[in-house]
């Protein structure tokens, strides 16, 4: 914080020396979940914006992980010096609203042009960004989970290497062929791997969506954890290892999943599109990328971070921040960001740029995530989000490890979530 203040002071001094009149100074916090190169890209883009817009100075502050960034923003806001702009997880919207920290983007989208811009994002991403008819978040670093499969393992099992499973049942059928056991019955390769450590709700939400269930309402104060369709989805997940034995039993590590895929421990894995580059660089075999298999319908959650405008900004600052967000979501800037990081570009317009087209031609796998967006839904998000998802995660873990039945676990979770959310109804 001292450091930040020092920098702000230095920036102020530098500008005092410059002749420009009505200068606007902005602070902008951003997290990076995928590695240091992404931070450089944000700083580059910010510098470009400053160069093109005289009189606006933006200080982009790399705040660490998502967890760090939200903590830092909350702390700063309580101390009365909130940033004007920050990228924070889309699911933290209700938490930030509860702390009374957010300004809606609608207040600044006055022209027709601005209003059209607000409507130019993929609806799947906007579901997490609106509540009460107002837009509080603008999608920026967003992702979605996809299915990766090992083509060589498919061929070895007598399956068509270019046809991944498209339904729950096919996952089981193919999974059985892909699960290899030695003479002693020990598994050397599993059929599929859906990691369940840390935040199992995210991938599980793929299953619930495919089964036509929605986990939370748009107001963020009701959840449907004990919906029979959710129970069915959890039963399916449990049965993948218990009944059909195509997935390893117990909790499966998220972090070790790509490695297990590279090592041939599993023939298929579900993980974020954010892993595309990693898999391309490290898989010692030919692999494919597909949408998650469907059941009642196709489906997947979205994930990642949005831009938020913070209260406490002066009118000028807020307008400048709004303008910056609008600029950075323009197709050219957005394409640059997507290519540098692997996040899914949040507006159709970006995908129509030449830059994106040639990138996709070179690496068609990136299109899978985009195409899946039409089936995607909002990531689970409620008031007291961390606590509610924690209750849900615990229930999933309890069912996966066989401590409780799917039904009992979800019933307990529903009761606990209802108690937490009572205050917000």
């Amino acid at each position: 914080m001292l450091m930040t203040k020092f920098k702000a002071a230095a920036a102020a001094l530098a500008f005092a020396a410059a002749p420009a009149a009505a200068d606007v100074d902005l602070q902008f916090y951003f997290p990076v979940a995928v590695g240091g190169a992404a931070a450089d890209t944000i700083e580059e883009l910010t510098a470009q914006y400053i160069a093109e817009n005289e009189g606006v100075n933006i200080e982009a502050i790399y705040a660490g992980s998502y967890q760090d960034t939200v903590a830092k923003a909350l702390t700063a806001a309580r101390g009365g010096n909130a940033p004007q702009l920050s990228v924070i997880l889309s699911v933290d919207m209700f938490t930030l609203l509860d702390e009374d920290l957010l300004l809606p983007f609608d207040d600044f989208a006055t022209s027709e042009d601005d209003k059209a811009w607000l409507n130019s994002f993929y609806p799947a991403f906007m579901e997490n960004s609106k509540t009460d008819g107002k837009t509080y978040g603008i999608p920026f670093q967003r992702s979605t989970p996809v299915l990766y499969w090992n083509k060589e393992a498919f061929a070895a099992a007598g399956l068509d290497p270019n046809t991944p499973p498209t339904t729950w049942d096919e996952t089981i059928e193919m999974g059985k062929k892909l699960t290899l056991r030695d003479d002693a019955g020990n598994v050397s390769q599993w059929g599929v791997r859906i990691p369940s450590s840390g935040f199992p709700y995210w991938l599980f939400q793929g299953l619930t969506t495919q089964n036509n269930a929605i986990l939370a309402n748009a107001d963020g104060n009701e959840v449907n954890f004990d919906d029979p369709k959710v129970v069915e989805a959890l039963q399916y997940l449990v049965d993948l290892s218990k009944e059909h034995e195509v997935m390893a039993p117990g909790i499966i590590e998220w972090g070790a999943t790509p490695k297990a895929f590279f090592e041939g421990q599993t023939a298929m894995m579900w993980t974020s599109t954010g892993n595309l580059t990693n898999v391309r660089d490290n898989a010692p075999f030919d692999f494919g990328v597909a949408m998650l298999p469907g059941h009642e319908r196709r489906g997947a959650p979205t994930g990642g971070g949005n831009f938020y405008l913070f209260k406490g900004a002066s009118d000028e600052q807020a307008k400048a921040a709004f303008d910056f967000v609008k600029w950075i979501s323009e197709p050219e800037q957005s394409a640059k960001w997507t290519i540098a990081t692997g996040y899914v570009a949040p507006r159709p317009a970006t995908w129509d740029t030449e830059t994106m087209k040639s990138y996709a031609a070179d690496f068609p796998a990136v299109l899978v995530a985009r195409d899946q967006l039409e089936h995607a839904v909002a990531e689970l998000s409620t008031y007291e989000n961390q606590r509610v998802t924690r209750v849900f995660n615990d229930a999933l873990a309890a069912a996966i490890t066989g401590q409780k039945t799917a039904e009992a676990a979800l019933k307990d979770a529903q009761a606990q979530a209802d108690e937490i959310l009572q205050a917000y109804r």
Binding site: Q67, A71, L74, T95, D98, E99, D100, L101, A184, G185, N186, V187, S196, S197, G198, A248, P249, G250, I251, I252, E253, A256, K259, A260, E263, Q265, E384, Q386, R387, R390, N393, D394, A395, A397, A398, I400, T401, G402, Q403
Partner: protein
């Protein structure tokens, strides 16, 4: 006059240390208690007096009971075992044999490593399928394990890491104590025909009693204090099977931002430690240590 000047001197010498001691230990311990009687303030709802509401929540909170139980198993499992291992280590290293300094180094090195680093190393050990345990297991014809991913074994997986790290630390205390036992004492016992087992039981162990008590207290405090490895290994999962009190406090305070409830949980830890302090006062002969 001279005496009061001495008093003032002493107080002046003490004041810098006490400013910090009080500011970061005694005062926060008291405000923890005080804040446990209020609600957590949020932007839209300022804090208000809650009476015993937070304690009602605590009693009704299944996670709290689970975590408390875990903490007891953790303490009862790691403390005696690390002490026995530490004692064995010290007795072995206290003798002359080939490679003694290597052996001593092997025992002690884990102590020097950060718990976070230790957890990273063990994470790879435990990884199902291609972690070291499964590699060795599969070479011997065993199937895959998932120690950290199963509710019945995750806590034990975490405990093994603790024992590995702590035994070497406790060994040092025993080693120090062993070297103060006069050789003449054990020699005398030997001349009288006592076997090495008898000497250990009748002479050495009783003389090591104060060390054992000191080490135990240390270990109990650590079992409440040391949760770093949980962050890396399990995140408290599955379904809180490997979560400990301080880890839960961290989650409540800094992930759920419910500081009032976190304070309430902290009060429980403080009660345990107070109990320990009182127990120590009566049990642990003050002559042994404070003089």
């Amino acid at each position: 006059m001279l005496r009061t000047r001495g008093w003032i001197h002493a107080w002046l010498l003490l004041s810098p240390a006490f400013v910090f001691l009080i500011a970061f230990t005694h005062y926060p311990a008291l405000t923890t208690l005080w804040n446990s009687f209020f609600t957590t303030p949020r932007g839209r709802r300022p804090r208000r007096w809650a009476g015993l509401d937070n304690y009602d929540t605590l009693i009704a909170d299944p996670v709290f009971w689970k975590v408390l139980g875990n903490n007891l198993i953790y303490a009862l499992g790691t403390i005696p075992l690390s002490i026995v291992i530490a004692l064995a280590m010290a007795l072995w290293v206290n003798r002359q044999f080939t490679g003694r300094s290597f052996v001593r180094m092997a025992y002690f090195t884990p102590t020097v490593l950060p718990m976070i680093a230790v957890a990273n190393i063990w994470m790879f050990f435990y990884t199902p399928g291609f972690g070291l345990i499964d590699q060795i297991g599969s070479a011997l014809g065993f199937g895959q394990t998932n120690i950290l991913g199963s509710a019945d074994s995750a806590l034990y997986g975490v405990m093994a890491v603790t024992i590995w790290k702590e035994a070497g630390f406790f060994m040092i205390f025993y080693l120090a104590a062993l070297q103060t036992i006069p050789v003449s004492l054990t020699e005398a016992a030997r001349i009288e025909g006592a076997g090495s087992w008898t000497i250990l039981r009748r002479v050495t162990l009783p003389l090591l009693m104060p060390t054992t008590l000191f080490v135990s207290i240390n270990a109990v405090v650590n079992s409440f204090r040391m949760v770093d490895h949980i962050f890396i290994l399990t995140g408290g999962g599955p379904d809180n099977a490997s979560s400990l009190l301080l880890f839960y406090i961290y989650e409540v305070a800094f992930r759920f931002w419910d500081t009032a409830y976190a304070a309430t949980l902290t009060v429980v830890v403080l009660i345990f430690l107070m109990g320990l302090a009182i127990g120590q006062f009566f049990l642990f002969d003050r002559k042994v240590h404070y003089r």
